[in-house]
Amino acid sequence: MVEMNMIEALRSALDDLMQRDPNVLTFGEDVGYFGGVFRITDGLQEKHGAHRVFDTPLAEGGIASMAMGMGLNGLRPVAEIQFADYIFPAYDQIVNEIAKVRHRSGGEFTTPVTFRTPAGGGIRGGHHHSQSPEAQFTHTPGLKVVYCSTPLNAKGLLTSSVECNDPVIFFEPKRCYNGPFYGDPHKLSTWKGHPDADVPEGEFRIPLEQANVVMEGTDCTVIAWGTMVHICQQAINDSGVSCDLIDLQTLVPWDRDTVVSSVKKTGRCVIVHEAPKTSGFGAEMSASIQERCFYHLESPITRVTGWDTPFPHTTEWDYIPSTERISKAIRGTQVD
């Protein structure tokens, strides 16, 4: 085990994957020589060669279509989209092409592309460096959608995503690259000393489709992903309510058994995400949970989310679900 921040853990996953499989290669804007704007691929070009770690033109649609072609012809491409906000020029290629080619070709062709992309707010990035577009991909059959939250699961989930023969959209909560974020912008922490900053060197995977139970409790189930996992941890402590905190990790397909058994146990559920509320993935979770757990519920399932507005710049702390909003929602589920 080595203590790593999330950047180092992601790099370690890519390094290990490239060492083990000559068909893995990675590319994107500023990914090669410079090592990426968030430094994920720093040093990888020097180590693995410019034919395996390289820069691309500034064209996300082109990055995605090139990746699709490489995947069709036997490679295992890992494409970086510099910010999730910039993924939309690639949307047609991802939704109509990459996600569908296995099905539309009767299983003759597949393309196991992984898209890594930093998402979420909290870095003063304004509207176009802060969005959480996971629901735009969870609605697409053929894609798996993964969201890491710690150095440990960043490495384990990225390894499983790249090795997966289905295409994966892998979201990285950029606010947590350098440390967990507990909701107070004036008290930033690093990963130093955090139990999930201890990451195995070399080959390490966490299976997809499995949630992680971060905290165990009795009276409410809190479901979150990405940065919200850490904010929820703080909010649960603030609320004084005994909660299960479930880090979903994989959104599609999500871990039905873990979620359903927790909600049946606690009878209450709060779902938290940064993305806007309407048609957010919380809506899907909420509907699915009530279908399965209705007779165990003691109170309505509640969502705490970003607003149905563009993501703001200077007022971002009033946009991102705060510990206050979340703990209030948790306490709200306890009222008979």
């Binding site: 279509s65 490489m70 290629q93 092409e97 099905h103 299983g107 003759e108």
Partner: protein, 412 residues
């Protein structure tokens, strides 16, 4: 093209239109190009060296069926006979499938009428293991690679034996064994994917070239420019073709670009670019072989404008007489690709009208036998279709729980 563009209106901004509409006389400018116009090119030529080739028209067959010029591939008579047979086969196959569509046995169809030479000559100029990344009007490549007609028909019908399991509209073939990549409806998406496929071949150190096609209308898509740009940056072994058949459904090529032509758009990307007569089997073969040799020698991409005319409708869903003169294609200066090769072969004494007629009869009876066999596996009107369970499979490598639950809900 720029100065002569016919306009639907000039004010408040130009809206280009097609040169002729229903009721007009067909009016194609007379062709000034001859097989002697363009010199051969070295494999390592620069984009600048191809300027004349991009603005001219590469021809080998002249208007009288004689082959000439520096691009004459001097093909063996067996190759010519083979090419002619593939083209006839495609045309007769198309006619039969249109009949099936009109009688409700399949949902939709797209013919390659007038464009048969393109995929056939170009695929014949490639190696068997080269990747073919088609749009919907290059099904002919499959004949070259030896695909069984029954299997192609099964796909178009969408019956129980359809290898894509009734999931795609007709003509959206997939055939991995023939290195023929799955066709997609959103136009142009394959263009830069082909660049990625070619990069992967280069990465693996394989002597394998990728060819892809899109249409004049589709060249307006971002994907076309991604393809040219990524190919110009990474220089993989790829042949990028724009089939300029003048029409995208009813939208004339005048709407696709305000620039001078299509081939020349490759020049500022630094890609050698050539405009080739798309109804000239020999020119297509020759230029594609040259592009393949270039790619194989490590000189990177070639950009081709394949200049032709869509003789038929876009698909079974439109009637071209509603937007252009009826029988417009009969006036196309490039003629008909099958007639031109046939005339050349008769001129050179390797073919006769009698042999031609016999070949048509032979193919016709093969196509009839094939369609009877294909429809015996089911047709759109009567079924049987692929089982409904195929809705749920191959969405992912394995069926996830939520998809499995939905399959159980359907109960099939």
């Amino acid at each position: 093209m720029t100065d002569e563009v016919p306009l639907a209106t000039a004010e408040p901004f130009r809206v280009p239109t097609a040169p002729c509409r229903p009721g007009d006389e067909s009016a194609f400018p007379e062709w000034k190009w001859t097989p002697e116009d363009l010199s051969s090119l070295p494999l390592d030529c620069s984009a600048e060296e191809t300027e004349e080739h991009a603005y001219g028209l590469l021809r080998v067959l002249d208007d009288d069926g004689n082959a000439g010029g520096e691009w004459n591939p001097n093909l063996d008579s067996e190759i010519l006979k083979q090419g002619l047979e593939y083209m006839l086969r495609l045309r007769i196959f198309d006619d039969r499938m249109m009949k099936l569509q009109r009688t409700g046995k399949l949902s939709f169809y797209m013919r390659s009428l007038g464009e048969e030479a393109i995929a056939i000559a170009q695929t014949m100029a490639l190696e068997q293991h080269d990747w073919v990344f088609p749009s919907y009007r290059q099904p002919g490549a499959q004949f070259v690679r030896g695909r069984d007609m029954v299997s192609m028909m099964n796909h178009c019908i969408g019956n129980e034996m359809d290898n894509v399991k009734g999931r795609q509209m007709p003509v959206h073939y997939t055939w991995k064994e023939g290195h023929f990549i799955s066709i997609s409806s959103p136009v142009g998406t394959q263009f830069n994917q082909a660049v990625g496929v070619a990069m992967a071949s280069a990465y693996k150190g394989e002597d394998q070239v990728t060819i892809t096609w899109l249409g004049d209308g589709t060249s307006a898509q971002g994907d076309y420019h991604y393809g040219l740009n990524f190919a110009s940056v990474y220089k993989p072994p790829v042949i990028l073709c724009v089939v300029n058949n003048q029409f995208a459904i009813s939208t004339h090529a005048n709407l696709a670009t305000g620039g001078p032509n299509f081939a020349s758009r490759g020049l500022p990307f630094g890609i050698p670019s050539i405009r080739v007569d798309g109804n000239d089997f020999l020119a297509l073969y020759s230029v594609t072989k040259w592009a393949r040799d270039r790619a194989s020698a490590g000189h990177g991409p070639t950009h081709l404008e394949v200049y032709t005319y869509r003789a038929g409708a876009h698909s079974s869903s439109d009637d071209p007489a509603r937007y252009r003169p009826k029988d417009d294609h009969l006036s196309w200066p490039g003629g008909d690709p099958i007639d031109r090769l046939k005339d050349h072969m008769i001129t050179t004494g390797i073919w006769s009208e009698e042999e031609h007629e016999e070949l048509i009869q032979k193919i016709d009876s093969e196509v009839v036998t094939a369609y009877k066999e294909a429809t015996s596996f089911g047709d759109l009107a009567n079924g049987p279709y692929p089982p409904a369970s195929t809705i749920f499979t191959e969405v992912y490598e394995t069926v996830p729980w939520h998809v499995q639950e939905q399959r159980e809900e359907l109960g099939k």
